[in-house]
């Protein structure tokens, strides 16, 4: 049953109702506070930006379609009406331009939240992200700090082809001077975005288009306007003792489903939601592997030089003698994302791939 639901959900994006069906079995396994409120990731992001703009007049939003159009994905809905065109700025089509301008504004003391319609378009601005933002504090010896947030959808959506589907977590996370965050749930989205906006360093905030419409339970604490999650701490979404599965963003949902399937076969999987790609919470990952002795890392992006590669290296370096099995890496196929739905599905990790890898790590199958 889980397999069928999983497949259907992946093919066409999530619908709230199918999600709730899947969720019901999992709520008891989660450690959410006993709040009965739910919130979509979209609303979580919107409320986070709204609250931070309200608290600090230096925060402003810029990007294509963020104002009158209410945001290409409606993340900035209602903000123009509330804060006016000077603080919710619709930019001309030039990523290089508005990124450079955002960085310049940050140099001069404002706190921009720059939206990329997708991080694929950030390629046109990557020089400003790396050379004007990430390295500035260091190169200027602390004289220029850049309290900027770059946010937008990252990774694959559904049927959008190669130039709209790449995951940039590994690219940005390799750069010293940047912080890279990847939320999964609504609570992650709120807490991490607020932390990012308040952070004095440049932060790359990788969202996921398919998660925007997903609803998650949310605690009273998380709804408070001062709520904030620490940057650099991973979250153990599900505790287990046989195998550690680490992942981020949309794949967390898949890993949790895989854990359910594995539980049926007697394998207790611990699922870690990384939340922060840079700095990577090596301590939590290694502590978990030392407990379970097996590692399966999952990501949507390309395999070579990916986030999984870094985690495997870290675990092999620090917890080698605790490993009972070779480390497993599940990543996207090493091809530009194909468009056809069947090919796209094959190019991305699925729940079955994670289940198989975990079983391999437990020597239950080849």
């Amino acid at each position: 049953m889980w397999g069928i639901l999983g497949r259907r959900a992946v093919d066409g994006g999530f619908s709230a109702s199918s999600l709730r069906r899947m969720r019901s079995g999992l709520v008891s396994a989660r450690s959410y506070a006993a709040g009965s409120k739910e919130m979509t990731v979209r609303d979580a992001l919107n409320s986070a930006i709204d609250e931070e703009m309200s608290a600090d007049p230096k925060v402003f939003v810029m990007g294509e379609e963020v104002g009158q159009y209410q945001g290409a994905y409606k993340i900035s809905k209602g903000l123009l009406e509330k804060y006016g065109p000077e603080r919710v700025y619709d930019t001309p089509i030039t990523e290089a331009g508005f990124t450079g301008i955002g960085v310049g504004a940050a140099y001069a003391g404002l706190k921009p939240v720059v939206e990329f319609m997708t991080f694929n378009f950030s390629m046109q601005a990557i020089d400003h992200i790396i050379n004007s933002a990430a390295k500035s504090n260091y190169m200027s010896a602390g004289q220029i700090n850049v309290p900027i947030v770059f946010r937008g959808p990252n990774g694959a959506a559904a049927g959008v082809g190669a130039q709209h589907s790449q995951c940039y977590a590994a690219w940005y996370a390799s750069v010293p001077g940047l912080k890279v965050l990847a939320p999964y749930s609504a609570e992650d989205a709120r807490g991490l975005l607020k932390a990012a906006i308040r952070d004095p360093d440049p932060v790359v905030f990788l969202e996921n288009e398919l998660l925007y419409g997903e609803s998650f339970p949310i605690s009273e604490e998380a709804l408070d306007s001062s709520f904030c999650l620490p940057i650099g701490k991973a979250k153990i979404e599900r505790e287990g003792k046989d195998v550690t599965i680490t992942t981020f963003s949309k794949m967390v949902g898949f890993a949790l489903k895989a854990a359910e399937k594995l539980a049926e076969e007697g394998i207790s999987a611990e699922v870690i939601n990384l939340r922060s790609i840079r700095p990577l919470d090596r301590a939590t990952i290694n502590a978990s592997v030392r407990k379970t002795s097996r590692l399966v890392t999952v990501e949507e992006g390309f395999p070579q030089h990916g986030v999984c590669a870094e985690i495997c290296a870290s675990v092999v370096e620090e917890s080698f003698s605790y490993l009972d099995a070779p480390v497993e890496r599940i990543a996207g196929a090493d091809v530009p994302m194909p468009y056809a739905a069947n090919l796209e599905r094959l190019a991305l990790p699925q729940v079955e791939d994670i289940v198989r890898a975990a079983k391999r790590a437990c020597f239950r199958s080849k």
Binding site: G97, G104, A108, D127, H128, Q143, N145
Partner: protein, 468 residues
């Protein structure tokens, strides 16, 4: 004007361009402007468009001459304003018949031109300007020699561009934020950066405000509102626009000022920055040092437009072309531009024509791609220092004696600065790891510990002059 328009073999637009050169009418500009010129080519748009974003001033003029027989009263309401129709098939020429003229106050020999308009300069300012130009030239000379001797790894001079450097700085206020390329140390010098501070950065010692992290000439000073030099070309342009936006939102009486070369105008960031600055109505000065060369690329290979000044209009930006080797002209142009930028909240483009007398940097030998005669000619005939000196002396504010006093003092100071900078310790090891983030993260603290442990157990493998 009507006369010219009737000879309609030219396009209407071409004629309007020709008659609208320069950017401010005498009556409209600041009260400082002194002129003996009753009329002339300096009359143009009088009413800045403060309110309507979309008012196309060019089109206003077009429809106001609707009495012309070709524009038969039919206009189209188009996003941006009304556009007149014409039954004649006219392509706007790729270039004007005449190039945009270049504003100057002093002739090649330093004599004030009789019709010149300029902002008067007090004795104090003039003497400081000239002294700083001399200081800049000498500083460049001595650092260049130091690099040749192997004492510095790298250096880039600003020979020939001293007037641009110093005069523009003199016309700005200390609150104006500067986004340099890398050939504008004179702006720092004017604002009070000492020769010792320059030397410290070049030698990367522990007194360097950059903590030894960058190559020589990558100066920066928070205190003096001069953003640390970033070597990537033209990236500072959009940054400046963002900073200008920030100044506007804070309501400050200041603007952002950014410098770039003729080569920098080819970058995509130039387009994005100028376009954006106009749309955002940001108070920013774009100062282009058109010095004829981008390393070995002459301007003829860089663009086919009439220099950089004509590009301003394409973005809806008021622009001017100035003789960059004329300190008084530079001073006036920047002074007026700054006022307009802040008062009217608009960007201004200034193209300063000059010549890069020195090599691109110490890694370049420019005699390989240009004749030594050309360099010599510009150095002698158009030298910014000698021209300004003549004018300063003609006012009785300078003499041979003050010149030689200044030069010997600077030389002594420079040699002392280098001596001290060379001997000063290099930055501490912990500065390799600090400032990557606001607060050093765990992984970097661990790495630093590992490095220290390694140095302790293998001291001979590490340089002895890095203080721990």
């Amino acid at each position: 004007m009507a006369q010219h328009l009737k000879s309609s073999s030219k396009s209407i637009l071409l004629n309007i361009l020709r008659h609208n050169i320069g950017f401010s009418s005498p009556s409209h500009a600041s009260r400082h402007l002194r002129h003996n010129l009753p009329h002339g080519p300096l009359s143009t748009r009088l009413a800045p468009n403060l309110i309507t974003r979309y008012c196309n001033t060019m089109v206003d003029t077009l429809s106001s001459i609707g009495s012309h027989e070709d524009t038969n009263s039919q206009v189209m309401d188009f996003p941006g304003g009304k556009v007149a129709f014409t039954p004649e098939i006219h392509f706007i020429s790729e270039s004007n018949e005449e190039r945009v003229p270049c504003y100057r106050v002093l002739d090649d020999n330093g004599q004030q031109l009789t019709n010149s308009q300029f902002v008067p300069v007090s004795k104090e300012i003039a003497v400081k300007m000239y002294s700083d130009m001399v200081t800049l030239q000498m500083m460049d000379n001595i650092f260049y020699e130091a690099q040749r001797q192997g004492r510095l790894s790298f250096y880039a001079t600003a020979f020939g561009e001293e007037a641009i450097n110093i005069a523009s700085a003199a016309a700005l206020s200390p609150d104006d934020v500067i986004f340099p390329q890398y050939r504008e140390p004179g702006v720092l010098l004017w604002r009070g950066f000492t020769l010792q501070e320059f030397a410290n950065q070049c030698f990367g010692n522990k007194s360097d405000y950059g903590k030894g992290r960058q190559m020589p000439v990558h100066y920066g000073s928070n205190k003096l509102n001069y953003f640390t030099v970033s070597a990537t070309i033209a990236t500072q342009l959009p940054n400046a626009v963002g900073a200008a936006y920030s100044l506007k939102m804070d309501g400050k009486d200041a603007c952002a000022v950014t410098f770039f070369g003729d080569g920098g105008s080819s970058e995509g960031d130039f387009h994005a920055a100028l376009n954006f600055a106009a749309v955002m109505e940001a108070p920013v000065l774009f100062i282009c040092r058109n010095n004829g060369w981008a390393i070995s690329t002459p301007t003829s290979d860089q663009f086919r437009s009439d220099g950089v000044v004509v590009k301003g209009r394409a973005y809806g930006i008021r622009s001017i072309r100035v003789d960059g080797n004329d300190a008084l002209a530079m001073y006036s142009a920047v002074h007026e531009a700054r006022e307009m930028a802040i008062r009217e909240r608009r960007p201004i483009l200034i193209e300063a024509l000059t010549y890069r007398v020195g090599h691109h940097s110490t890694s370049d030998d420019s005699t390989r791609y240009r004749s030594a005669d050309e360099i010599e000619w510009w150095n002698k005939a158009r030298n910014p220092l000698s021209r300004f000196r003549t004018w300063v002396e003609s006012n009785g504010w300078w003499s041979d004696e003050t010149e030689s006093d200044l030069r010997s003092r600077i030389k002594k100071e420079m040699l002392e600065a280098i001596r001290v900078a060379e001997k000063t310790e290099k930055p501490n090891l912990n500065h390799m790891f600090s400032d990557v983030y606001d607060v050093p993260p765990l992984n970097l603290r661990e790495q630093e510990l590992l490095v220290r442990q390694a140095i302790k157990s293998h001291p001979l493998d590490y340089p002895s002059d890095v203080p721990l």
